[in-house]
Amino acid sequence: MKKLLIGNEAVAWGLYNGGIGLVSSYPGTPSTEITEFLAKHDDIHSEWAPNEKVAMETAFGASLAGMRSACAMKHVGLNVAADPLFTMSYTGITGGMVVCVADDPAMHSSQNEQDSRHYAIASKVPMLEPSDSAEAYAFAKSAFTLSEEYDTPVLLRMCTRIAHSQCVVDIGEREEIPMKEYVKQPSKYIMMPGYAKLRHPIVEERTEKLRALAEDCMYNRVEMAENREIGIITSGCSYLYVKEVFGDSVSVLKIGMPNPLPEKMIRDFAAQVKKLYVIEELDPVIESHVKALGIEVTGKQLFSAIGEFSQKTIRDAFLSEGVAIADVPEIQGAAPAVPGRPPMMCSGCPHRGMYYTLVKNKITVIGDIGCYTLGAVAPLNALDSTLCMGASVSGIHGFNAARGSETEKKTVAVIGDSTFMHSGMTGLVNIAYNATNSTVIILDNSITGMTGHQQNPTTGYNIKGDPAAKVDLEALCHALGINRVRVVDPYDLKACEEAVLEELAAEEPSVIISRRPCVLLKYVKPKTPLQVDTDKCRGCRKCMKMGCPSISFKEGKARIDRTLCIGCGVCEQLCAFGAIGGKAE
């Protein structure tokens, strides 16, 4: 069956046809769809885990039991799951195991630009890196065999452009792989010093065998051109940009297995070309390897370690080197300067009412990762920091421990329901146990929002949308040692302000659960849009301070766009002149 697939769907098909039995993941752009597409198959176990570490350990457990398994995460998710990864490298696997990790060069939807290839090198685990959906399918499918042949988990590295670009893939049939027998093997699977010391030499031997494989495998290939003036070693989407600019007119060594890298293949290639380049996004991983072989090469001095490349990057760089390029594009004209359009919280977003309350009261806000990170932008400018998943709850504890009562009464942490499950809980335990008078607001919109609506342990549904055990957040916070736990509706500004001021004033830690489902959820029915009575509107712009995209200012008056407004009523509470309300016709 030939089908146009995004890279992530192709990975899902590759894993499925490769005989996967279990997938456990935590959502994260640009990796999320791998697991969503796998969840469409009812003959395998699929799940959203509370975080990436749990997901990877679950996949490990399935592998230990003899089943082929996988987990998927974004690059920063691999930081969370790094602990099991490094030791799984020692234990190896029983059923084949694939760890999919998606990097985000240019940070389309991320907080940093880290290069996951370093994890492959550091954990001594082989890594595959496809260039398009067709390769993503083939590499994902073959990764199970590689994993079982070499007794190792396999990292499959995607990036945003490959994860979210479509091309035609020829999807074959699913291979039914019988589970392997479970045999107790203490010296392989119990990693205490005595046994781990026995495993480390096995890891080093495996790496040598994989190095030999790298010289001759389906992942790395040489495309020799008649022209030997220029030779380019490249991988991932950079390969596509090189081919877009040069077609078959320069010689290319395409790397599909960035760890371990081949030696002889690179030496042979370098010997055949006059000038050697390495073109790779982010860090100089291949370049450092080539240089360590004592081969002269041009890499990061010409191609930045920052952001994404494109065919233009490649074209401009070679033009600057004096290389002739065919068909340099000619623009019609320069684009005029226009106002930016940054992403923002949706019309009727339940986070807005709570943020408005915090900004109005000049509260310091330690933020976290999710849709609510958008509270950082104008006009709210509500946040003071955002670091990583869960860092708001642990961060406020340190902040208050450092400054004491000076900040305890005017600082809050904000964290979403899914992020709280991911890694906010442990921070809350620390607040209770090590006693700072901190106030945590859980922005509970009853879904994992930013990544496109995935269920989580607080929603009451599993990945299939079937009813599941639902974490009782109030009871959980009590159990973690917090006495003061209260729930408010963020559409009710008065209730929000009361809750925030009272809990900040309280002489003990507290949790406010700001609870209202995301307006984009199908079961949330929009109310009638509001309108502005232009006779009553004085043009004071107070309603615009909360940054609702439905409200604009035209001819000295506020105006509500009825195609966007969902009738949440927060602006109506802000207007001192009773100008907002009523029903639009």
């Binding site: 000619e330 623009i331 019609q332 106002p339 359009r341 919280m345 958008l374």
Partner: protein, 190 residues
């Protein structure tokens, strides 16, 4: 055949993903090598979004850069201007005349440029502007603006209308098919 590049640009939430999937499916059925690049995640939340569709005998890069784009299909006026620099000499911009204020305009930090399309025309850009919102509302929902625009683009393409209809039948949820077929037709004839 030389690769043809199309950019579908607009504001997150306007339905550019479905439009690019429609075009991708159609071109694949027509036997072209096709690459489509989408946008997911944070940038979707009301921000400026761009998806790329490229087709030809052999397409490598999934993205479109300066001076490479044959057609820009814009769901909003300001966004047409934002990406105009990607248009190749002699390329064409199809644009919905709808205005959606970005946050800097809402907060008063910037003004929505008054004559942005006239400016492009004066610079020699081939701009085909029309109101896609009214036909979308006529078809039954403001959300069908994407299909109205694709209907209008279909008229410029050299692919027969019935092939477009076939592709619509493939990619649109049957519940909304009738509305979208109407939207497509209204776009095609406007």
């Amino acid at each position: 055949m030389k690769t043809t590049s199309v950019m579908i640009v607009g504001v997150g939430g306007q339905g550019s993903l479905l439009a690019s999937r429609l075009l991708g499916t159609l071109l694949t059925d027509e036997g072209y090598d096709v690459k489509v690049s989408e946008v997911h995640g944070m940038s979707q939340r009301g921000g400026s979004v761009v998806t790329y569709v490229r087709y030809g005998d052999k397409v490598y890069s999934p993205i479109v850069t300066e001076g490479e784009c044959d057609y820009i299909i814009s769901f909003e006026k300001l966004e047409a201007a934002r990406y105009a620099g990607c248009l190749r000499k002699g390329g064409k911009i199809i644009v919905n005349t709808q205005e959606i204020d970005p946050m800097p305009v809402i907060t008063g930090a910037a003004e929505y440029p008054a004559d942005v399309l006239e400016g492009l025309k004066a610079e020699g850009f081939d701009v085909d502007d029309f109101d896609a919102l009214a036909p979308a509302l006529e078809a039954g929902s403001a959300k069908s603006v994407n299909i109205v625009l694709m209907g209008h683009f279909a008229k410029c393409s050299d692919i027969p209308k019935e092939k477009w209809i076939q592709a619509l039948n493939k990619v649109i949820n049957p519940k909304f098919l009738e509305m979208n077929l109407k939207a497509f037709d209204l776009g095609y004839n406007s």
